[in-house]
Amino acid sequence: MKPARELLRDYVAHRRAEGQPSASASSQEENLRRLLRRVGAAHQPSEHLESRLVDAMCRTARETPSRSDAHGGWPWLSRPVWRFAVPAAAGALVLLALFWPFLRPTSGPAGVAGRPAPGDALRHPDHLRQVAVPGPRTSSDQPSPIGHVILPQGELLRRPARGGDWEPLEGGDPVFLGDTMRTEAGSLGNVIFQDGSDCQFAANTTLRCEGDAGASLKRPARIQLTRGQLWVQIEKGGPEFRVVAPAASAVVQGTVFSVTVDGSGATRLQVTEGKVRLQNARGAAQVRAGRESLALVGGAPQPPFPIRRVLKPQPVEESGPDSPEAGAGDGAKKRPHPTTPGSRVVEDRDAAAGKLKRPSTTERYDPHSRPLRKPAPRDEPEEPPTAPIDSSGTPSDPETRLPVATGGP
């Protein structure tokens, strides 16, 4: 056999001696292809390998369980994707079942699902500032509280929108749309809404916060006052707000006023700041600051007249919480403040406007010793009752704020 070195050297020398041009790239590639194929062709399996393999393969095939046998008659299970997909789907279903109570959409009334347990929120007065500030929502499915309770006096109870038993509320507890709140005898309730509006209610008062849950409200669109007395300071600039009482509705946009419902359902409106329209199916009355109006059941609101005795929620002693005679105003005169005997709480207006703190000053209060800073002009004619008007007619209100106090109707 001629050595490769000698053979190749002779070939190259011969090509150069003849002056042959160098091979092109394709020619070189073809040379390489021929060499490699020759090398490959030089190695062949032995003649008996094929026949041996046929026997061995047929025997192996017979000994190997078929696909359907291996997967219990479900041949598609042999595909790798199903081998992973089936356990993964089963696992996902188990996880979904476990977390379903947290994931399911709310189908009940607004402000029910995701409600924290009573007393979960901050309870210490120092923390109330944080409580009243609207916080970011942690989940789109979890409703935000519409407001927070400010240190109730006595017993303040809540029945969630989803129903169930009455549960006690404490300072800092969140309040949701749809909640019904009730004060017992000798109690005072106070809720600061997310927009800073202040709502205080007297003893033996039952009310319900209502509104459209999807409207991302910072205060309820309306409060259904079933009984008792409500004092409200509504922040300006928000949507229309109304207090719906049995005999009439008070529609406002930003003012300070109180609504009282006595045992017969008669609704008394006192306006401390701005203008409020008291209306029902039989008529309406525009009530300015320093004036009040009364609507009896089945009758139109009376023409406004100067406030004789300012009403402000305060705890009263009552024979029973559900007694129809549980008017807050009458009892207010008889019952001193439960935590400060002999004195009554005067609302610190700055604190109230700050929407955060409980009254920072406590002093003896005489509603007649502190005249209203902006009484209605005496020479201004009273506004007569008018025909029912829609809410769009609600006038704007002045910036003046007036102190208020409570008293029986």
Binding site: R16, N31, R38, A70
Partner: protein, 209 residues
Amino acid sequence: MHVGQWHWSTERMETHDSRAERELVARVARGEEAATAELLRRFLDRVFRFVCPRVGYQEQDAEEVVQETFLSAVRLAPTFRGESSLFSWLCGIARKQVFYFHSNQRPERRGSPANTVSLDDEDVQLLQAALGAGPLEQEIVEQLSVRELVEGILTALPEAEREALLLRYVEDLSVREIAGIMRRSEKAVESLLRRARQRAFAVGSEGGR
């Protein structure tokens, strides 16, 4: 007008050959002797050529690996879905069998084959010069010493470059098919081919040597 024989499946377009190959494998899995013989007739030599350089051109070792490859193919027949060519699928099995073969070898046999040459060797440079001198004469191609020299060069090449080179020029596969067998991108295969040609055989470089 005939537009080709395409069969629609729920997952992809597949060629007529793909279906035929799936049927062939299914018949082999059922133990049909005719199908098994057909499979071996079509692929035994090609798989042997694929395995041979990986075991240092030791034919007995290559036969052992090829035998295990086809027996494994029977056992794995249900996993063949026709998404790649049957030869690619067999090459994948053969690669694993080569790995098992080397794993079971005694350490002293795991070294480089004896016929490995250095790419700086004078003979290698002479071969490169001959490839660039013009069309090789058949006498040189057939020469046993030249063939052994080429085998030595192939053995000296990195495994990936050698595999790409042999699949491209011996099995005449496209770059895409090689990429499927080697589980690499087409660009990676092109890079391997270019490097193997230029470094080992000086083919593709400017003017050759």
